[in-house]
């Protein structure tokens, strides 16, 4: 407390020069002369916290943000094709996997031999063997 009183007394020794006599009037004239008020409809309860914060920024801040946004957009545009849109590399047709039922019969390797045996063809072969055994048994 004593220290606080000492500090106050010390600071009180700093004389403050009087401002110019017409300071208040000069402020009023300058503020009014700066053009139409750039204020929201009501300075209080106008928009949310973000809007109030945004309006409190000055023009330089808004211009800086706009410039940064333009630079970011430009960088995105000139950076070239994006992942997912690049053309797929052409795959050599060493194996052609065919989905349709008709095409499943024809499966070719590079040298023309069938890649996979047709399952239906194999089953028929087994059936034919069984028929043959019955015939032999009499």
């Amino acid at each position: 407390m004593h220290e606080d009183r000492e500090m106050k007394a010390l600071l009180a020794q700093v004389p403050i020069p009087q401002p110019r006599a017409d300071l208040a009037e000069s402020i009023i004239v300058t503020a009014m002369g700066q053009g139409a008020q750039q204020r929201p409809v009501a300075a209080v309860h106008q928009g949310g916290a973000f809007l109030r914060w945004w309006r409190a920024r000055d023009g330089a801040y808004a211009r800086g943000l706009a410039v940064a946004a333009c630079v970011a957009a430009l960088a995105y545009i000139v950076s070239g094709p994006k992942a997912g849109y690049a053309p797929q590399a052409h795959k050599p047709a060493q194996q052609q996997l065919v989905a349709s039922q008709e095409a499943a019969v024809e499966r070719y390797t590079v040298n023309g031999l069938p890649l996979l045996a047709d399952i239906a063809f194999v089953e028929e072969a087994v059936f034919e063997e069984e028929t043959l055994f019955f015939d032999l048994a009499g």
Partner: protein
């Protein structure tokens, strides 16, 4: 209308200003310009810069670039301290004057009575020199806490820092001031 505006409190004047009432703005300026000039001066230690800073602060208020929210509970004066000190800090960064030169201008423009008493002048010179050498954040905290008699919480709100940081700034400022006073004494 002018007389009616002069009798209204700050909060009501601010509401009218938000609706574009020039008489309310003029009343607020006449009521507070000298007080906030003194605050700006203690931060800037230069008369012209302090006048410019307080003028810019009031212009921001009128132009809606500084918006006061009554619902946040802060008094107008506490809120406007922040506008003025921020403007003063901006002014400081723009000003190219050396602090040494401002001291001569400061003493030359001080009241003539200060020169009449040699001992008081010497002491005042020492205090002014020591204050001018403080970092502006310490000087601002010291001014708001001791001269404007704001609480630590209010100083924290004005400067946008925590009360703990205010305590630290004020403590360091007091220490630095005492050390410099010993140098200048």
């Amino acid at each position: 209308m002018t007389e009616a505006a002069d009798s209204l409190n700050d909060e009501i004047l601010m509401q009218r200003i938000s609706q574009g009432d020039p008489a309310a703005f003029a009343a607020l300026v006449r009521r507070h310009s000298t007080r906030f000039y003194a605050v700006a001066y203690r931060v800037l230690m230069h008369k012209q810069d302090a006048e410019d800073a307080v003028q810019d602060a009031f212009c921001k208020l009128w132009n809606g670039k500084a918006v006061w929210d009554a619902d946040r509970g802060a008094r107008f004066t506490t809120w406007f301290y922040r506008i003025v000190t921020n403007q003063a800090v901006d002014q400081l960064s723009r000003s190219s004057r050396r602090r040494g030169a401002t001291l001569d201008e400061h003493l030359a423009s001080a009241e003539p009575d200060a020169e009449a008493v040699a001992g008081q002048r010497q002491q005042a010179e020492a205090v002014v020199s020591a204050l001018a050498e403080l970092p502006e954040r310490q000087r601002t905290a010291l001014t708001l806490f001791y001269h404007e008699e704001l609480s630590q919480k209010e100083v924290a709100d004005v400067m946008g820092i925590t009360p703990k940081a205010v305590e630290s700034l004020v403590g360091r400022a007091k220490l630095a001031l005492k050390e410099r006073m010993q140098v200048y004494a």
